[in-house]
Assembly symmetry: C2
Homo-oligomer: 248 residues x 2
Amino acid sequence: MAHHDLQTVSHECGDCPIRHRAVCARCEADELARLEQIKYYRSYQAGQTVIWSGDKMDFVASVVTGIATLTQTMEDGRRQMVGLLLPSDFVGRPGRSTAAYDVTATTDLVMCCFRKKPFEDLMQTTPHVAQRLLEMTLDELDAAREWMLLLGRKTAREKIASLLAIIARRDAHLKLKSAKGSIVFDLPLTREEMADYLGLTLETVSRQVSALKRDGVIALEGKRHIIVPDFDRLVEETGDDSDGGYLI
Amino acid sequence: MAHHDLQTVSHECGDCPIRHRAVCARCEADELARLEQIKYYRSYQAGQTVIWSGDKMDFVASVVTGIATLTQTMEDGRRQMVGLLLPSDFVGRPGRSTAAYDVTATTDLVMCCFRKKPFEDLMQTTPHVAQRLLEMTLDELDAAREWMLLLGRKTAREKIASLLAIIARRDAHLKLKSAKGSIVFDLPLTREEMADYLGLTLETVSRQVSALKRDGVIALEGKRHIIVPDFDRLVEETGDDSDGGYLI
DNA sequence: TTTTTGCCTTGATGCAGATCAACCCTTTTC
DNA sequence: GAAAAGGGTTGATCTGCATCAAGGCAAAAA
């Protein structure tokens, strides 16, 4: 069901926007050539489901542009987002044949896909892919543990502030600006998606966003455009020790 | 501060109890020989801290026997356990010089340690170590995401049932019995540690354990010895879909 | 233009789990 | 053998967030 309706992506790996951060980051020219042979692109529109948990998944992929989410759902419908996938993040697991989570495009999304079998073969022979994937997986594990602290122990207000701080940091990073002083960005998530990520209801998310606005920690233009006049002030609201080493 | 007060562990890798599950599981004889050269054992008594978050950490290690925990602490003292380390689990991160979490021995503990630098060198040259570490890290990431669902969306009763089911499964696995019908095991955690793991208070843990006992889902002998007359009944209480693929 | 739909906000109320507090039992210490 | 310490239970009360409910606003559809 993939479409060709987005800008035609006649990519060479050489000028790929995620070339230096994705699973291929460490590859030499010859390794890249092998990857290039087995790669193909897929595009999804905002809101589309990439794959359902339990479905057969015969590829792995890197997010090239856009944002996707990983979500778990309980029988009775309770939902918990367990991952936010940004450009360069990796989707899927070598050595596993079915998807473990629902993967959804929250914005228009382009992924660089590799059929699983050839990718696995390639991992056996080109150490740089496996090395980079290990590094990325360790980073994700750290992020997941950070999130466990948030889910288990933070208040609703701290949760919102933490999410905003993370998105602000990432955004500053993508724009190559330092996350200091005044920052402006657009929320890539609806209130409901934020709630699914933070273990809250959408009503509580809405109330706490309003509270942070009322208290001058953030300002809003419309519902999605966030202005952070003082980033340090926002960080104070997260409950984390002020420096908190993570830089995305 | 390591002690030699536990059974003297004059181990050859060949008859190591975690030989086939730890980071060394895939190693050939020659690779094992290289590991053997740089390994050393450390023992800790129940309650001892292995390392504090932020401390310099010049080794990585495998848990050989006993149980350790990874914990994050907020400035005001709120605590969240983010990992439970069982025999064969890996501690530390290649390429990082300080500990990211508090590591504590909850039972008497023996670890097989490798100085970080030689281990990193070895990883570059022996693909089997890196491969196995990737596999283990991916498993841990899945476990962390499972835990995110628990922390974000499950009720106190479901959290307790989930923890008991996980420990029961692991225990059955170690004893090479199937996790079916009646199971008996000892809780390796205090009520407070359970609370830290589950994002609850110790009072709520105590109450919910009592409630599960009152409802006949479990029986207790003393405070730590748990009897599960019907494992499927316990699983029903976890909120997970009945089969829930994980086998430890 | 009107209607519908998606997304968001705000208010009223309820409840699960936190908090505060008392006490029990077992093991360790002196 | 008394006292202290560690771990656990249970009760009373409080509160943060969920739930239920109504309505606003802008974009899309009719």
